[in-house]
Point group: D2
Chain length 347, copies 4
């Protein structure tokens, strides 16, 4: 329950635009377990008029509405599970209708419209950029709580940013270049069928794609790392496609300045994330795996020596559909409405 500005206590009313992609489906599952929120609409262009159980094998009988008929103003908050480009326009419409907005697309993650333009296309609604809050909850909780418009982080950035923020902020890292070797499950590519996501392409296979400095999550990661470090940071980013549905594991190669060793890194995380329900700092000697996080909203953090003084390998894992998308979105929503952040989510 939250208290409205009129002093009324009631359930948070939720709208979902683009509800039949994987992040939309995940939101529905999360809200099934959420004790203080109720879905007032879920929209789909393709499946409008059908029940949700006709789209995915599940028991949800919600009838999907067309986006144009979605009663935006009936919701306290609307989740945008729509493609970049489209999301920005819808965000404006949602805000105009008086609802708050959590955008799961990339449209408001880059603070600089020029950077957005270089990696995507001309930003459709740059006027909204200044007020958008980057929704990495543990780092920007205060701003998120107050935001009208939250830019939910990308799936790849979430783990590395949570791992590196405490280190960069304390000046622990020596280089301005960081190698992130990331491996993602297939749901990260979305529900749209393509030769790339065909079972026979993915099964028994493993492949890299968009390696180097090409993937669109690159500028998002660099923007945040630079902000945490207070100086320009650069990444080498190698995404790979795992033959699993869910989960991202990132293997990160760093060098520390002198005075930092394994216990100090672990301790820095433990201090930074003390009391955080979703951050799981593994003890020295243990490494994060997908099994630590899949089907939960957790982010697992771990570190090992790279074999020479001051050289470390950080390994971090999340479920890309939860902490990397819909889970973190609900965590943000919980923060925005003063609810327990774990509502609807597995810690």
């Amino acid at each position: 329950m939250f208290v409205t500005h009129k002093g009324v206590m009631r359930m948070v009313k939720i709208g979902i635009l683009g509800a039949t992609g994987y992040t939309g489906f995940e939101l529905l599952k999360v809200f099934r377990r959420h004790p203080e929120a109720e879905i007032v609409f879920a929209s789909s262009e393709t499946y409008a008029g059908q029940r949700y159980s006709q789209v995915y094998p599940c028991s949800y009988d919600e009838v999907l509405v067309s986006p144009d008929e979605a009663p935006l103003g009936d919701a306290d908050v609307v989740f945008l599970c729509t493609p970049h480009g489209a999301s920005a326009v819808l965000a404006q419409r949602v805000l105009d209708a008086g609802a708050r907005c959590i955008d799961l697309s990339a449209d408001f993650r880059l603070r600089d419209a020029a950077v957005y333009g270089a990696w995507y296309h001309t930003h459709p609604v740059p006027s909204l950029l200044p007020e958008a809050v980057y929704g990495l909850t543990e780092i920007y909780r205060r701003q998120v709580a107050a935001a009208r418009l939250v830019a939910n982080p990308g799936c790849y950035p979430t783990g590395p940013l949570l791992a590196l923020q405490p280190l960069l902020q304390q000046g622990a890292l020596a280089d301005e270049r960081i190698i992130i070797d990331a491996k993602s499950g297939v749901s990260g590519a979305g529900a749209k069928p393509s030769p790339t996501t065909h079972f026979c392409t993915v099964s028994d296979n493993f492949s890299a794609y968009n390696v180097g400095h090409v993937h669109r999550h690159t500028p998002e990661i660099e923007q945040e790392l630079s902000a945490y470090a207070g100086r320009p940071m650069r990444i080498v980013f190698s995404p790979h496609l795992l033959p699993v549905s869910r989960g991202i594991l990132s293997t990160i190669y760093v060098r520390t300045v002198s005075g930092w060793d394994l216990p100090r890194i672990v301790e820095a995380w433990e201090r930074a994330y003390a009391g955080e329900p979703f951050i799981h700092v593994l003890p020295q000697g243990s490494l994060a795996t997908l099994a630590h996080v899949v089907n939960t909203n957790r982010c697992a953090l771990s570190v090992a020596s790279a074999g020479a003084e001051g050289e470390y390998i950080i390994i971090t894992a999340i479920d890309n559909l939860l902490k990397g998308a819909s889970g973190q979105a609900v965590q943000n929503m919980n923060a925005m409405f003063g609810l327990d952040e774990t509502y609807g989510l597995l810690a």
Copy 2:
């Protein structure tokens, strides 16, 4: 090497129409290993002009031609890896050009144009039906060897037919109804992307589809079983989709007439298939698995008691892309040109 009608000894010249589906790709792999055949063309509507290695991750540099430019007359035999409907028309064109034809589609499997019409659509070239030979090599070897036009069997029918033919022919089975609970890998659904074949749909999942008397392989199985039995046979056919790329395992429930027991069934198979390189009759106590056959042209046969006298469970397995499609097609080609049937194939 085979001896042409002009008495010349040379490699068999192969053409492939529709070479970029899974059965086409499999043919290319088989012909890489085949000592006495060479590919003279491989066609693709979508990828004409590209090298094969641009379509699939492989090292094949064959340049794909458009089907209209395929030099049909240069081939001794053309494999049709094209959809039903289209195949029948192409078969006529291939025969007119003087080549023999092995059709991997369903167009010539049903002997009766009316049955074809009931399950598919009006047959495009019914005049070719009488000369088409059903290419279940072990059963119709003599006819295959002499054929101009071979209808390569469907993937689901191959295993059950090989298992049941010796039993039906000897009058071993009591009922006119047989239950076939079949489980297939995803490659059976073809290379075309769809929600059904998306990795996230198939992985960690298992589902039935077209169960009962609905799947288009039903009349093909019933046609053959009835022919072997000399009386009308009926099947209950339940296809399921396995989260694997390749392989079909069929669990078949039968009742025998008196006088038949486990050893006699095994012995009937051993006798019927003595000397057959691709039929693997498992000893009593062992059950066929996909691992017995995947990546080979083998069909594994096994049987167990169903717990009561005269009740048996037959389990048979093949690789759907090899013995269930391209492998059997090459086995047929080998028979047609007087070559060792194992050429290019793993026994």
Copy 3:
């Protein structure tokens, strides 16, 4: 909260013996979400003294106790995740300590000690058999609620029994013999490493095992079906091993007496299970898949025509570790303590 016999309202206190197998791990996950229960001990012979997070990749810090040191009397109810044979002896000890007992092994599922003896070994504690309640919650809810000792059903039986009970009870089925072609995920084989459960054995493979009338769940299914039908029922039971971790899908071949058709079967289920949170009756035309149920406590029920009048194919799916084991066990516990049956479970 439940009211103790002393009139005190408090959380249900839970003990788990054998907590490091897959069903034990699943219980821990369920109780993490359960609002009105708390774990007072979790035991393990092998891992006593270690934290749970050292056994499985998770964030649970419960320290495992040795079974001999488990404070049985501190618990309101003890879950036995121990092997058959051992469970019966432990059940007696639990009851003697004053706790109620939910046994996930086979020890109390068969009402007749002689049948148990024929399929397992001499029953260790036959004196407890008369009071044990077979914990198929939807069918035996009233008895479960009052029970001191619940025999939690086997994973394979649960789906077929829930599907067939309403039909048998109404006399809908014609034959005394029913074919159940069942396919299970690997977790059903337990956590103990063996060549059979090695990743390389299972992946890309599919196999049958213990087919016919051999698997130990056979007498359990026959006992229940016979009870529902009021006459002796016999099954042909073919378990298969799927390359997935979780889930059982059963394809069941039945013949009905006249007067039954598809809509009537669906309607019989809908009526029998009206208001049941965990029974998902699919509309005609839809078939149950693992995706409908995995990670939930649901049982999905569906039916299709087998192609001839009065012949049907019933397809039912559950998650073997939830509705087929730990989920149903907690559902039973909720019933035993007057709690909402969905507590801790996804409906």
Copy 4:
């Protein structure tokens, strides 16, 4: 056929010690296809006296002998698929019996007994180290051809060494430190069941292990890289476990000296490996995947920009059981007996 020293032309006679591990099974499969070799014995301690088809699902009827009864002297060459430590002792016995020896264990890969001692244990037969040839065929072909004792390379080293040798030899690389982020299929862990290789542990999971400078393939890679570079090289090595049975993909981060760019790297490979049947240099813009190599003896090489001048990401893939073990072993054997290197192997 090869010509013996007595001038006789005949098949190469093969012995396999430790034939029931994964590399032994793979050798049997390869020799099924090999036109000029025959197996004279295959041994197993555990399964002596049984047919091969009782150990693995296959149609091989070879009867396994106990290692003590293996007629070593009947073989021209014996493959050791035995554990390190044991292999060294057996190698001596094989050579004493007059056969040549290809050891698939680690016992003769490290030239320096002290290094071996530091990473394994005291070397059991250091006297054989000087004559052992490191069997990376493309690099040491001449020495392999003449060798009595070949140390078959480890699975992880093979790909990176083939990728880096031409670059290091030409002085292309700037740093003495190279990061190798490697991902392997489960068969690399061997056939012995363990919690680590349980299907439920691996499926839907992805994990790192022995990262940094800990894995035993580290000194083997450093020994070779240093030899190619003519100066000491150091690696950061991060092995990961993929949920696939076969294949290793290595993502390698390098910096070049000035004058090197993408086309020059590709060209260096093409020149170094011109005519090599098993090296597949991908064109610029394509990245190696497991699908390029699984079930073949190929090594795929590819490279992409890391986003800044002189920074590159090299991606190389092999099938760990073929080019990374048994395939390369047979390639070595073919070289040792003057046979076509592709015999028995898919190029």
